[in-house]
């Protein structure tokens, strides 16, 4: 299949995952907010495309870019945030748009100009971002360290996401467990091929997230999802490009588990998640 067709398939798949029964899952408390949810889903879909473009330029590899976009499109946290009204999701779209526009730019002045526009758009789209909300900056080293360990824990990555306690998918982490080997291989790859840009963004988002006074119930870390997707995709690509039998068998087993886990997540998201959200109706006092 041609690569443009594959991109179309990824986008179609993302479209279905974001728009299918958007008014019902998760339950919409106030019907007048459907438009906000629809806009958000559209921006999430656009983010998939932007990530494709960004990674294509970054890696200079279309297959890897397609894989990154696909991983991002189906990641549990991205899907969950893409189907509600989420400021973090809008901000992520703006960040990806900024990165995509600036990745090829050489002019420093133009970059600075675009950065100021980015800052403006980011601040109006994500007023809940804690740096915009706080007048005082309080930082306890103990809390920051503890938060770093929470955010980098296997539990947070693969088993439990507490960042949006009453409205989030709590029983899954931010990634599928099957992606663990790919994440490890991808991390090594990122170090080896020396893509400091990815690590830099991860570092910045990590530091901002762990310094949040609202942590762990804060969603700044959501902005890291495209970069993690790049790493996982890079891991899958690396895995797949090895020819020895053992790696192939391992890849096949993990791949089968991944398919099963994705189906598990969709089942959980469509059947169990709406029931759990209904129990928290009292907490929902903002667009959801």
């Amino acid at each position: 299949m041609r690569k443009t067709n594959l991109l179309f398939v990824v986008l179609l798949y993302s479209f279905i995952l974001r728009f299918w029964r958007l008014g019902q899952i998760p339950p919409l408390i106030d019907q007048s907010l459907f438009l906000a949810r629809l806009t958000n889903a559209f921006l999430s879909l656009m983010s998939v495309f932007l990530l494709y473009y960004y990674s294509k330029v970054l890696f200079k590899n279309v297959r890897l870019a397609l894989l990154s976009a696909y991983i991002f499109a189906i990641a549990p946290w991205v899907l969950e945030q893409g189907r509600i009204y989420s400021q973090a999701n809008v901000a992520l779209f703006i960040l990806l748009a900024f990165l995509t526009v600036t990745i090829k730019l050489k002019s420093l002045y133009l970059k600075l100009f675009l950065s100021s526009i980015f800052y403006f758009l980011f601040s109006i789209s994500y007023p809940q971002f804690w740096l915009f909300k706080m007048s005082q900056f309080e930082l306890s080293l103990n809390n920051v360290l503890n938060n770093i360990f929470i955010i980098l824990s296997p539990e947070f990555f693969f088993f439990k996401n507490p960042t949006f306690w009453w409205g989030g998918v709590r029983d899954f982490g931010i990634l599928y467990l099957a992606w663990l080997p790919f994440l490890l291989v991808g991390l090594n790859d990122v170090f080896v091929i020396k893509k400091p840009r990815i690590l830099l963004w991860i570092g910045i988002v990590l530091l901002i997230s762990v310094a949040s006074p609202f942590f762990p119930e804060s969603r700044e870390f959501f902005i890291i999802t495209p970069f993690i997707s790049l790493i996982v995709a890079s891991g899958i690509y690396k895995f797949f490009s090895r020819n020895d039998l053992l790696t192939r068998v391992l890849f096949f087993l993990v791949f089968v588990f991944m398919i099963y886990e994705i189906i598990q997540y969709f089942h959980y998201y469509t059947i169990h998640y709406p029931q759990q959200i209904l129990g928290n109706r009292g907490h929902i006092n903002e667009p959801f």
Partner: protein, 546 residues
């Protein structure tokens, strides 16, 4: 003497000082399991039988559990020399703890021998193990895992050396057999380690089939008593593993029931089974528990939350090792160290038994991972020191120094003063006091809570084991937590489910001493004597009624 030898001797000396000094004071008291092993060693020394009257047991029945016996047997000569006391009970652990530091040096030299800097890495690794809070904590208490780790590591070292000098293979399998007599977890870890060694060295082993077979046969003979023990009593091999396993705990089952209930009319039985089957639910749970051992909060910040494996306000590793450990993982593969896969696989299998239990993360059950982990920390630290220069090198060393100082403060000052209860403090003082006045009374009543008080009375009174074997009143019926109780011996009574308020009002006996933990007698002021924790809080109140 070469500089390297001098450093190695310094490491051994430091390691000995950190593990041998004031064994009777730090940790502040003997934990229940330590007392149990000490008294059983005493009992075997004097009568040839354990507290239950079993002649030379291959597995020790202990509070409803079965304990591997090696450590108890190792304690015997020390009790013979030093008497029944804290130091004698803890010495084998401390000695084998130092032994592990020494073995680690030689093992690293074997595992990384294609590297030019191997000697420096080996020295650094054994030094870091010497000052490791996790290793010091375990080595200074009579913990089964310390003995297990020593014999496992010895087995690995002899195996690798045995690839060249085949007669060492027998010593290797002898050590592996002893490790199986040391700790339950090793009954899984040791065979898996042997399997990995066989795969790792398969090419070299093709010429060694005869000595390998002989070594295997000898170890099988050594394990015969355990096999016969298993035929008589199933629990001998894995003890209470069943009751601490994830399959015994209700958490997964309850979650499964909740999800199936939520599925309700949405799906058929087949679909429900497809999504909420045991394999996926338990598999996910076990993986979650496995990966919990890599949680930074556990490793570097809060440590093990289970008593007595906790050091106040710190992790099982130093905070600076949150950098050197991942760096070690990276450089292990980047620098293509020989046997890197063996190191990683050993590291992983050391966690497997713990992942199947519901109390995770567990520093005790995963203790054998400490050696591969410190090899990684050593490689990481060494590689970082090679990259960074001058000021950063001094800063890194300073950071380690500060971390070590912080640990010593927490372990020597804070732990005994404010957390002595983690180590069942107060029983020694209680037994000594009651011993002095017990002649005037007919009965001494001690509620059977806070561990197993009977064993403290046996230990600190150096009660004649032969007499206890005859006098002990025990039903061998396990309570809901799986513990078996001793109801009394001599004039000592240990009632289970004892209610002090009720006894005080309706059932107070004359000529009787009552030893009541303070949480049951917090409001009482008419006590004869109070036993205090080092921080001044009351541990026990003793009431003597004529």
């Amino acid at each position: 003497m070469s500089r390297s030898k001098f450093i190695f001797l310094f490491i051994i000396l430091l390691s000995s000082i950190l593990r041998f000094t004031w064994l009777d004071h730090f940790p502040p008291s003997l934990y229940t399991d330590e007392v149990n092993q000490g008294y059983n060693a005493y009992s075997i020394l004097l009568t040839g039988r354990d507290e239950h009257g079993v002649l030379l047991p291959v597995s020790l029945r202990s509070f409803g559990d079965w304990k591997p016996p090696l450590q108890t047997y190792l304690i015997i000569p020390f009790i013979y020399i030093f008497g029944l006391n804290e130091t004698a009970v803890r010495l084998p652990s401390a000695i084998l703890g130092v032994g592990t530091v020494i073995l680690t040096y030689f093992l690293v030299k074997e595992l990384l021998k294609n590297n030019l800097q191997v000697n420096k890495i080996a020295l650094l690794t054994s030094f870091l193990l010497t000052i490791s809070p996790w290793h010091i904590l375990q080595s200074r208490a009579a913990m089964l895992v310390v003995v297990g780790l020593f014999f496992l590591e010895l087995g690995i070292l002899y195996f690798i050396k045995g690839v060249i000098k085949s007669r060492l293979m027998i010593l290797s399998f002898l050590s592996f057999s002893l490790s199986i007599y040391s700790y339950y977890g090793l009954r899984v870890i040791t065979p898996l380690t042997i399997l990995i060694l066989l795969i790792t060295y398969k090419r070299q082993l093709t010429n060694l089939l005869k000595p390998l077979f002989l070594a295997f046969l000898i170890s099988l003979i050594l394990l015969l008593p355990l096999i016969f023990g298993f035929l008589k009593e199933k629990d001998v091999v894995f003890g209470r593993a069943r009751t601490v396993s994830v399959f015994y705990e209700r958490g997964v089952k309850l979650k499964q029931w909740e999800l199936i209930t939520q599925d309700g009319s949405f799906s058929s039985t087949v679909i429900t089974r497809f999504f909420h089957n045991n394999l996926y639910m338990y598999g996910r749970n076990i993986l979650q528990r496995f990966l919990s051992h890599f949680d930074g909060r556990y490793l570097f910040f809060n440590g093990d939350q289970a008593w007595p494996f906790q050091i106040p306000n710190m992790g099982i590793l130093y905070l600076i090792e949150s950098i050197t450990f991942p760096a070690g993982l990276y450089f292990l593969y980047k620098a293509k160290f020989e046997q890197r896969n063996f190191i990683m696989l050993w590291f992983i299998i050391a966690i497997i038994p713990a992942a199947f239990t519901f109390m995770t993360p567990s520093s005790n059950r995963t203790f054998t991972m400490i050696v591969p982990l410190y090899i990684l920390v050593g490689i990481g630290f060494f590689s970082i020191l090679k990259i960074v220069k001058n000021i950063l090198t001094i800063s890194a060393i300073l950071l380690y120094g500060l971390s070590f100082y912080y640990f010593l403060h927490q372990y020597i000052v804070l732990l005994p003063r404010y957390h002595a209860d983690w180590w069942s403090y107060g029983w020694k003082e209680t037994v000594e006091y009651t011993r002095n006045i017990e002649n005037k009374y007919d009965n001494i009543v001690i509620p059977d809570i806070n561990g197993m008080p009977y064993i403290y009375y046996l230990f600190y009174n150096q009660y004649d084991p032969g007499r206890f074997q005859k006098e002990a009143v025990r039903t061998y019926v396990a309570d809901r937590f799986g513990f078996e109780h001793v109801e009394g011996f001599g004039k000592y009574l240990f009632p289970n489910d004892f209610d002090w308020d009720f006894t005080k009002k309706y059932n107070l006996q004359s000529n009787t001493i009552y030893v009541i933990p303070n949480q049951q007698a917090a409001v009482d002021t008419d006590y004869t004597k109070a036993i205090y924790y080092p921080d001044g809080k009351i541990a026990f109140k003793i009431f003597a009624y004529d």
